[in-house]
Assembly symmetry: C2
Homo-oligomer: 180 residues x 2
């Protein structure tokens, strides 16, 4: 699928068919993730692939009971590896770069899933401590996204976006009034 | 260009030809940025497009004198809009979601530029206060990336990546030893 088409047509999918996705699809999606850029190529991020029903159920409870976490064939939890980034970049690594490394990988995962005909959703609202406990995350690994992935059972309309004029500035910032 | 090809073949470009890029190209790139997902569709991010030579020079000085900031036809500075995210999500919005919103847009910008035959680089190492002053950023707008964009003058080899086995875990985290 063309890059611009994937970027523009991707939607957040919150209802999934029961059909399972294959290990080959999971690999293609993770391969897209690892090729995201990262600060100093440290790749300060890790991926937990959740296939187990019981773990999905617990994750769902840790994330405001968003039911589609359980419904999805798999979930990928993307974690920022604070230690790996701090090792080279100290505070800025721990507080910023590893978050950016992880987020770039999440965006690739969403585009890859969509281009394979799958649906996904970037969930950021969850209890960090609960997720860390469920997934046995060590200190220094911070979960930043839960991504349910499966065959989409819905085709949502695109939500509105600010116009380019509203959010872009030439050479320096100028105050603008904008509404959606 | 195919999504997977764009994701895998994109490189960080740090040498540019003098040829200018067009406003139409800039618009396509920003259009890709605005279609990135965001927490609650708040789109807590803004874009400053730097065309002016003097501003590029100052930006370059604020970012460890990475010369290609000046060399590039344009730079896009992507900012996290802390206020917009905090308005709905309080601390988690200000400290996390707006950073993620901005990072997802950066990744789309890099993929869009590459697929148009342009080169770009995600620069995270700069003096936040200096950049804010140069670009007249109001309080609550945090610059998270400087992205020089232009026609590439180099074709770097892909840097090594961790293997999928090294960075992915099934159902729960397990300690692994990994080296690049």
């Amino acid at each position: 699928m063309d890059v611009f088409e994937a970027i523009k047509d991707r939607r957040s999918i919150r209802h999934f068919k029961p059909n399972p996705i294959t290990d080959e699809q999971i690999e293609k999606i993770l391969e897209a993730a690892i090729w995201a850029p990262s600060a100093g190529n440290l790749q300060a991020r890790d991926y937990i692939v959740i296939k187990d029903h019981d773990t999905k159920k617990k994750l769902c409870e840790s994330a405001l009971n968003q039911h589609f976490i359980q419904e999805a064939s798999i979930n990928i939890v993307v974690c920022a590896n604070e230690e790996r980034s701090a090792w080279k970049y100290s505070g800025r690594g721990r507080e910023l770069y590893c978050i950016l490394d992880a987020a770039a990988a999440v965006q690739n995962i969403l585009l890859a899933a969509h281009s394979l005909g799958l649906g996904a959703c970037w969930i950021g609202a969850f209890n960090d401590g609960a997720v860390s406990k469920i997934l046995n995350l060590p200190r220094g690994l911070k979960p930043i996204a839960i991504i349910p992935i499966g065959y989409p059972e819905q085709k949502p309309n695109p939500p509105p976006r600010f116009s380019l004029k509203d959010v872009s500035h030439i050479n320096r910032y100028e105050a603008k009034r904008r509404t959606l």
